[in-house]
């Protein structure tokens, strides 16, 4: 009886969470990464996926491929769940959005499709409150970190892709900091990996 009651509570919670019918008992987290060509949005979704796999989670992480040029707006996705899932579509209603480039705020509806009570993390140097200018912040959890500044100071280049993952995992705990560091060092052995790890740790601390 107790188990059934717990299940009922769980289903209600999922119900609330999705704000719609029960889709699945397993919580699938859909992440969209908005960036610009050349900033490593593809690498970010890949490493987020690898970190989740390292933790025993199930993943479908992929970029949206098209005629992308350096600087053009691009998106990549990561669908992550503790339980196996079979869905293979692009992400239209993300639970989590990461904005790698602050200039996208002016050009792209970055919060498009973001679910109620979802989370958006933006690379932004201004006051957190001023993000309200760019998207409706009333029903979402929004965070900012000075990703570009951290990237330039720690890595020496404005490549804030992994920096933003550091901020993302602090506020969502979708993967652990330890897992993210492991896959980063594995992907970028040597000094570049070390610099990225420092940047990830700083974003993890500084996100607000």
């Amino acid at each position: 009886m107790n188990t059934i009651f717990n299940l009922y509570i769980f289903v209600c919670r999922v119900n609330l969470y999705y704000n719609t019918m029960v889709i699945s008992l397993a919580e699938i987290m859909d992440v969209r990464i908005n960036g610009r060509g050349g900033q490593g949005a593809v690498t970010a979704s890949r490493l987020l996926g690898e970190a989740a796999i390292l933790e025993g989670q199930y993943v479908h992480a992929f970029p949206s491929f098209g005629p992308e040029r350096a600087g053009a707006p691009v998106t990549s996705f990561a669908r992550i769940s503790a339980e196996p899932f079979t869905e293979k579509t692009e992400v239209y209603e993300p639970h989590i959005v990461v904005v790698i480039d602050p200039t996208l705020l002016e050009d792209v509806p970055v919060a498009d499709g973001l679910r109620a009570e979802g989370t958006i993390v933006v690379n932004y140097d201004g006051l957190k409150e001023s993000l309200m200018k760019y998207f409706d912040t009333t029903h979402v959890n929004f965070y900012k970190v000075s990703g570009s500044k951290i990237a330039i100071e720690e890595i020496g280049r404005n490549v804030p892709n992994l920096v933003m993952l550091g901020a993302l995992i602090k506020v969502t705990r979708i993967v652990s900091l330890e897992s993210l560091i492991k896959v980063t060092v594995n992907r970028f052995p040597g000094i570049l990996g070390e610099k990225n790890v420092s940047a990830i740790k700083r974003a993890f601390e500084e996100v607000e």
Partner: protein, 392 residues
């Protein structure tokens, strides 16, 4: 059994599985979205991690021709292509099967030009259905990995000796990172022993391959291919059973999902089958008695198995990510209709051409399509074909 897990894209899964197989010869030409398969493999060759002879040819026609020549020496041969590349191989596909070369071909399913498009669609592989190749589809990076290894065993079986192709859809599988349970070299070596060939090109023997055969024997040779295809049905089942024992993951020519008590079914193949299963879960939560059937083995077409799986179902929604023009139904719907015609207790068939050139058919759209099929069934339409998910 402790499972080793690695994050890989579909293409990487094919390359890593092929590395364990360590074919004697690979001849390939790059084409998006297949390129990474041969790119990764050429790194393995360059690093000395495999001893494969890698032939970077100047076209897919030459790729398949080189594969045929290599295979006739008794070598284990692998290649990969997609779309226009596969179309350019088409002439030689028939030479490969006619000469009974058990070549394995990975297809990164992609739309045909024009207009030029690099994205996922399965027409490229489906139109090779008459070429006497065993033809499989995979849903995920895991299945890409598994089918790479199994394909060699099916193709090289002495009762089959037919080339084998398996397809994974461009980008949504080929370029997507997934969790893949991997095998060890020793596991693959014991599953897939060395090729044992009686008749081959060899410096010490005198043999003729590919000679002229006219009215006298051509038809008998074609008939032998059909018998080999019949054997391939049995062998594929056996190989999948053996693979299931090896890995602990159930691998069957058809995957049945919540079909046992179902009144309705969604039939699909490839990545679409993953979406179909997700839709079945959503519909079941609403109280619908629906299941899904995934076709993993497309050639030889497992008619009787499909009949048994769909017997008693009222209406079947066929999600076909391919296009054929002026046809009585979608490509897979036509096969289903032939497989079921005249049998008892069969469902009505509703085919939907969808997902062309990478277009996404979303889960809510699949639910709508399912409702359409139910409606057709209720108004006694036994067979319908529609295009869905496009601007009208």
């Amino acid at each position: 059994m402790i499972k080793q897990v690695k994050g890989m894209t579909g293409n990487e899964a094919v390359a890593w599985a092929a590395k364990l197989v360590n074919p004697d010869v690979i001849a390939a030409y790059p084409i998006t979205p297949q390129t990474i398969i041969v790119e990764r493999y050429s790194e393995f060759v360059n690093n000395g991690e495999v001893d494969t002879s890698f032939i970077p040819v100047e076209s897919e026609h030459s790729a398949m021709s080189s594969c045929v020549g290599a295979s006739l020496t008794g070598a284990r041969v692998f290649t990969a292509s997609a779309s226009a590349g596969l179309a350019l191989m088409y002439e030689i596909l028939y030479v490969a099967s006619g000469l009974r070369c058990p070549i394995v071909l990975a297809v990164a399913n992609r739309a045909f030009s024009a207009p030029i498009n690099i994205h996922g669609e399965c027409t490229d592989q489906l139109v090779c259905r008459d070429a006497s190749w065993v033809s499989l589809f995979g849903e995920s990076a895991q299945e890409a990995y598994d089918e790479t290894i199994m394909s060699f065993k099916i193709a090289e079986h002495p009762d089959v000796l037919l080339p084998t192709m398996f397809g994974i859809e461009g980008f949504i599988v080929t370029h997507a990172l997934e969790r893949v349970e991997i095998l060890s070299k020793s596991e693959v070596d014991s599953f897939l022993p060395e090729r044992d060939v009686d008749l081959k090109f060899c410096p010490d023997e005198t043999n003729t391959f590919g000679s002229l055969v006219l009215q006298d024997y051509y038809m008998e040779i074609k008939r032998q291919q059909e018998e080999a295809m019949t054997n391939a049905y049995r062998v594929t089942k056996e190989v999948m059973e053996e693979f299931t024992e090896l890995t602990g993951r159930t691998m069957e020519i058809l995957e049945k999902y919540k079909l046992d008590d179902a009144d309705y079914a969604i039939v699909s193949y490839g990545a679409t089958a993953g979406n179909a299963k997700a839709v079945v879960d959503r519909l079941r939560a609403k109280g619908e008695k629906v299941g899904a059937l995934k076709i993993r083995l497309f050639r030889p077409f497992p008619s009787l198995d499909i009949y048994k799986a769909l017997k008693g179902i009222k209406a079947v929604t066929i999600l076909d990510r391919s296009v054929t023009f002026g046809s009585p139904g979608t490509i897979v719907q036509n096969d289903l209709a032939s497989a079921l015609y005249g049998r008892e207790n069969i469902p009505t068939l509703h085919g939907y051409i969808n997902g062309l050139g990478g277009r996404v058919l979303t889960l809510p759209e699949i639910e709508e399509v399912y409702e359409m099929s139910k409606h057709y069934n209720e108004i006694n339409m036994s067979s319908t074909t529609d295009w869905v998910g496009y601007r009208k």
